[in-house]
Symmetry: D3
Subunit: 139 residues, 6 copies
């Protein structure tokens, strides 16, 4: 856990983060890091070592709960369709159902309006299609 005070090296923190990232985002997350390798390996390092190793790995919020917050943020930000696809995959990986994801994105219309909700829902649809999860039937 991140609050222990054992000395760690930069490399150890990266390896730890990569492990957490792999369990949550899977291949989609590793592809993002690979795309950065020849342009900003430091950004790849920080996504893994800090984003996943420091923050995601904290025990105070369950992985599925983190994905719910994340889906809300990415929908609200707009222009984050690639990240939404990564995190719809992640949401499925940590136990949210397609129905719950779709419901969260419907809920987002109340706070972000329909355009953001539509763009996010169509990004989710792409992931569901790739994973053979269409049609999403009502719960």
């Amino acid at each position: 856990m991140t609050t222990t005070d054992t000395a760690t090296t930069r490399r150890e923190r990266f390896e730890h983060g990569l492990d957490v990232l792999g369990r949550i985002d899977g291949e989609a997350g590793r592809n993002v890091l690979a795309a950065l390798s020849d342009v900003s390996p430091e950004l790849a390092h920080q996504v893994a070592a800090w984003g996943f190793g420091e923050i995601y790995s904290r025990p105070g919020l369950a992985p599925r709960d983190r994905q719910l917050v994340t889906l809300g943020m990415l929908t609200a930000l707009g222009g984050c369709e690639p990240q939404l696809r990564v995190h719809v995959n992640a949401a499925l990986n940590v136990g949210l159902t397609p129905q719950q994801i779709v419901e969260a994105l419907l809920h987002s219309a109340v706070y972000c309006g329909f355009p953001r909700a539509l763009n996010a829902t169509l990004a989710a649809k792409q992931v569901f299609a790739e994973r053979g999860l269409l049609p999403v039937l009502p719960a």
Copy 2:
């Protein structure tokens, strides 16, 4: 009108909204609903029943005025090019001229800056091209 207090069913509210949506957005709007049918039919329902049936159908603001407000919002939000194309079509359908649309998007540069104004103007250009309205001549 939405302020009457006649009892309506969910289906009747959807049919009413679909009728309003068809008159304003035309085929572009119906295509959005169709794309949602296998992933979030409830979002399609709410776009039609609430967005169009409840809000658009209110008499307090003319359809062309609603499109001016909408073009302003979609430009400012950013990342809403698909919705801008639907609503540039809608704006033409309810009586705004290409010159007025282009002028509204020029005006947006004052409040949103040039990148948002450029992205919106190029989205409008695609619609004008599809409808044979290029070049847009000065008024």
Copy 3:
């Protein structure tokens, strides 16, 4: 539930929404509606009847899960401190702990950056102070 097809009046939908809103947002939510009464009673109607009566009341996502998505969205949008205070109250009302709320807002730094995370955390702090929940001790 919203998918039944019983005919309802506008007033019935409002009363239903008001009831849902009261259970989730409590007094903070009712204060928002009161502030709208002399300027846009229709907006107050739609917040209650549509936002709460139509969307919040759907069974597909638990109230606590809706608040996690909502906290993510409001943090990402920025400039929504009044709404964040209402929804931090709501999050506490539906069972999230101060520790979970604080953790969700820490998590938001990864996706929205520190300024949004700081503004949201300080908005939450105001609510915790009003409810006698400070200091928030580590879980």
Copy 4:
């Protein structure tokens, strides 16, 4: 009009813009320029000379139509409550009624979500209160 090719000086362009700004935004607009005088007189110059003298003064879109687009943009941007107050004043000055302004902001909920619509409506309420226009009665 801005497309004529008569040579003008920087000062003439500022004076022209100031005249347009005064007619649309009135005292609220002049107060903004005054607040900038000891920190960024150039920004004050550009708001007047470019924003109003170059863009607002173009004949291709009526002043009331420009305010509809502007209300949409300021609502969508968020965090622009001071500017919203200036432009709700401007909207009243160029002939929009309180009812139309309120309706435009209700409409914004469809595209921007309720928090932005609420913040904008409460900013408008402040202006209506200052001008003795409350309550806003249904049309």
Copy 5:
């Protein structure tokens, strides 16, 4: 410089802006203007005459400093990948190195979060690829 008070014509201001734009943005900037020629020649005029002729040409901030501010803004706005590509080109043209650009975009993660930083970095990567500047080696 813009603060002189020599009378200029609209055409002279455009020619001056075009000259400034050409030196900073090069071909990428001229392509943007060309794309606007049949839809909004006035927007093309204002980008050149005002954005570049009036603002960029001011001596108070060095061209490389303006690009640093601009990269920060375009990253934060989101949905501005086409403009980011133009301005990554511009940043290289005015003397920023690929390493400095990549570092500025890494820095943006602190304030805007990882999704915006990732989208901007991948937009920069496209420009670096086109100009044969990959891989970007650590400084």
Copy 6:
């Protein structure tokens, strides 16, 4: 520097970050951390240890250049006036002049529009007033 691979403890990384933060943001930055101490000490930790200790301390971009990027981002994000005040202070601390800061915020109008530029300029004005730097005279 952050790329060395010496093992460090969490506390050491915090102390290092606090040192960097103190040199750049000074008292304004330390006040932010203090305000978090009873609600989210972990967020305070991450602002210092990661934001400043990991990112700000990297040698690839000069402190004044980081502030230019930061001013651009905070202006574009909107709703970040408290952070803008901290970073206008920081910008002065690392060698930018009031004239350069004001020019950077004028420049932001081109990309973010006037409302964001105005809000940022008025936030900067507050800092200049506190530090006895008004009026800002043309360079």
